[in-house]
Symmetry: C2
Subunit: 225 residues, 2 copies
DNA sequence: CCTTCTGATTGAGCAATGTCAAAACCGCTC
DNA sequence: GAGCGGTTTTGACATTGCTCAATCAGAAGG
């Protein structure tokens, strides 16, 4: 089903012992675009915190249908295990650096309680975010989905550009489609629709400027009736 | 937007100090059908483990669109907080008993590490389950969604009935629809379709018998091409 | 037993989104 | 700067699932 020749972490990733001596086992990793950090069903020995860059977490059905579970931005924790295994594939969209934690340190009762608590908080944040995503996947129209996506990204990683906010999109239209449960064609058409109504401008294919954030948010929440 | 006259827990729920003295603060609660355990944005002081019964976790948009986030069956943990608040409404479909934990005990670093770890495990299990649900919401057809739903329920709470498996459905068609991102009409039509192809039998509206579990699973995973 | 109410089913038509195909665009390499 | 491969955009058409509406079924109460 899935790629079975699981690459060892070492193939793709450079592990650098961290300078920080306060937390003994912490280390830093860098990963190049397109390279996998882990695959579904790999034993989940390591848990990662994104320090810089963007990750893509995906699941794939036997017939090739794909769902992008999440994009991992700085501050996000990825690699939550279940039954000791990863439950998504994970690769990098851009050069990405990560902090690494050994699962055994975090999950066992004897580990650093501070770290322990951080993992729990991250998991709870993750659950909350996923619940938002449910509403989006299950109940929103294509334009509401895309508007929601851009609104969230804007708040999270938007950069001021004059009086507007600019967003870099390191993922393809197909990635966005698989994240929102749509097709690339629908994503493309919906971008065009938002552009024509002057709510966004598309500078480059991968660079969006939000011209009317209020209107965008209104659409995201279904206020376009 | 949401019901603002938040009922205090005491209105709906009877808290009984637990007999188990080993875990000081644990208590048991019972809740009647239709009664709310908590509402979205309530301060999340308590975390619950379902002991018996079924809960429904929902989120509602301003315009009334609803997403059922999950059904809480025995063994499930509900009430994961984020920023100290609940992020869904939660009510009971049938009489339900729950074990109660104070959040402060679980989340702070000083709480019982054993319990602490159980909460983390529950959160990780939750994340894993939600990831499955993403694929379902984003990428499956209506019949695949319903087949997946019945397959999961069958494994989780199916009861043998002769050589077949019977499933009780304490939720309405509308609940199933809002769980799967469909409408009641589509759910109804899809049930009919599965019944006519002899894969399930509908004994009572709320009681389904799985006649061909293999076929059902095949449909659930997209094997109906 | 009859009425009533709510939820479930079925039908007909429609709208949103998917599919298939072609064209345009962008970044590379030669 | 011409050619190439992959991505994006656009168009025409098909299909899935939704909307609106009618009917049906089952539970509760008089």
């Amino acid at each position: 089903m899935y790629v079975t020749a699981s690459p060892s972490i070492e193939d793709d990733v450079i592990v650098i012992p961290s300078r920080k001596r306060s937390i003994a086992r912490q280390a830093t990793v860098t990963i190049k675009p397109g390279k996998h950090l882990f695959l579904e069903d790999d034993p989940a020995d390591l848990i990662y915190e994104v320090a810089s860059g963007v990750l893509r977490l995906t699941r794939i059905m036997e017939d090739g249908r794909r769902q992008v579970i999440a994009f991992g931005y700085p501050g996000d924790t990825v690699g939550f295990p279940s039954n000791g295994r990863y439950h998504t594939d994970c690769d990098a969209l851009v050069p990405t650096t990560l902090h690494v934690h050994r699962r055994s340190d975090l999950e066992s009762a004897k580990g650093d309680p501070e770290l322990h608590l951080r993992l729990l908080r991250a998991a709870l944040r993750e659950i909350s975010g996923m619940q938002d995503h449910f509403m989006m996947l299950g109940r929103k129209s294509s334009i509401e989905k895309l508007a929601s996506f851009l609104t969230v990204l804007s708040a999270r990683v938007g950069e001021p550009l004059g009086e507007y906010t600019q967003i870099a999109l390191p993922m393809t239209r197909a990635d966005i489609a698989d994240f929102l449960g749509l097709t690339t064609e629908t994503i493309s058409r919906t971008f065009t629709q938002l552009r024509k109504s002057q709510i966004i401008a598309i500078d480059h294919v991968n660079t969006v400027v939000i011209l009317k954030p209020v209107a965008l948010r209104a659409i995201a929440q279904g206020g376009s009736d």
